[in-house]
Symmetry: C2
Subunit: 193 residues, 2 copies
């Protein structure tokens, strides 16, 4: 297996584009080489088989979505109230939606996982790690809301991003914004004594 | 175009299975005929083109998910409190998840809609009608929660169903049950004065 990390990353980025555009069925060594603009046979020097491309492409999406240190630090600066949490949630939604191929590729991988138990296992571990990281970051931050709030926000915001990317006219940007604020307010709400 | 409604419905049910199993790219007149177990050429007597099958298959999923009159009536019987709303939400989740091919076919159609503006328009209208129906039913029912609560529940429960169907081991059945209860409690909560 070849080891040039930039080349490997470029091949996985091409695989993400192929997944988003053509689905898992469109993903072959050949289509990845073509999309990456590299000589035929390159991808097969980096990945043992198609399954490896599928799982590593999923991993690569998460890698590309990791926020900057600056963004993470900003979440821990200043007052840790609902307004700050809403601001962070807007930032997450924008960050994920700004990489539509990544989100759509993960959806295609999920659909493919219904047919491939091994891929399902890898994705389950990856999604669980993402959820645990979210929950851990949240607890550490002192922002309002318990772990149920974090998971609930994650569910609702994922589908909101799905709507935005697949049926962008269902909600206006203002409606989406208001929904994020309402979700934060209600899900982190502590019933007053 | 042929007009036998049972035959048309059977062809659309076959199209839903093809979409769930093979994605939109796998959907052809031929694959629908084959899945429905009818002579080659049958689907082309019922649908003018592939696009018509795609949009009508989406419509057919919603048609098959309409609850029984008995279920609708039950929602309006007895105390209209959060426990009742949670019970109804559990019922919706079970009903949708019990027809996995329908949910997965709609996801495939959404992904295909990112490439086909006409399909996107049809799906947007259909999803909006579904959301409006949910909101209307809810308001009429006198159950707790405003329209923001209904839309928020719809977002979160859709992604919960997506998890259950694509990565079924991410949450245990107990965790999913507890999430539905928490979502209802928090999203319909009125902050105390």
């Amino acid at each position: 297996m070849r080891r040039n990390p930039e080349r490997r990353a470029a091949l996985l980025d091409a695989a993400i584009e192929v997944l988003a555009d053509d689905g898992a069925r469109g993903l072959t060594f050949r289509s990845v080489d073509r999309r990456a603009g590299v000589p035929a046979g390159t991808a097969s020097n980096y990945f043992a088989n198609r399954e490896e491309i599928l799982t590593q492409a999923g991993e690569r999406v998460y890698e590309r979505l990791v926020p900057d240190e600056a963004v993470l630090a900003a979440g821990l600066a200043g007052p840790r109230d609902r307004a700050k949490l809403a601001e962070l949630m807007h930032e997450v939604v924008e960050r994920v939606a700004a990489f539509p191929a990544g989100f759509l590729a993960l959806l295609e991988l999920r659909l493919e996982a219904t047919r491939r138990p091994e891929l399902r296992e890898v994705l389950t571990r990856r999604v669980r790690a993402d959820l645990d990281a979210n929950t851990g970051y949240h607890e550490q931050s002192g922002l309002p809301g318990d772990s149920t709030a974090v998971v609930s926000l994650w569910l609702a915001l994922n589908w909101l991003i799905l709507e935005r990317l697949t049926l962008p006219d269902l909600f206006t940007p203002e409606q989406r914004h208001a929904l994020v604020v309402a979700l934060v307010d209600r899900l982190t709400g502590q019933p007053q004594p």
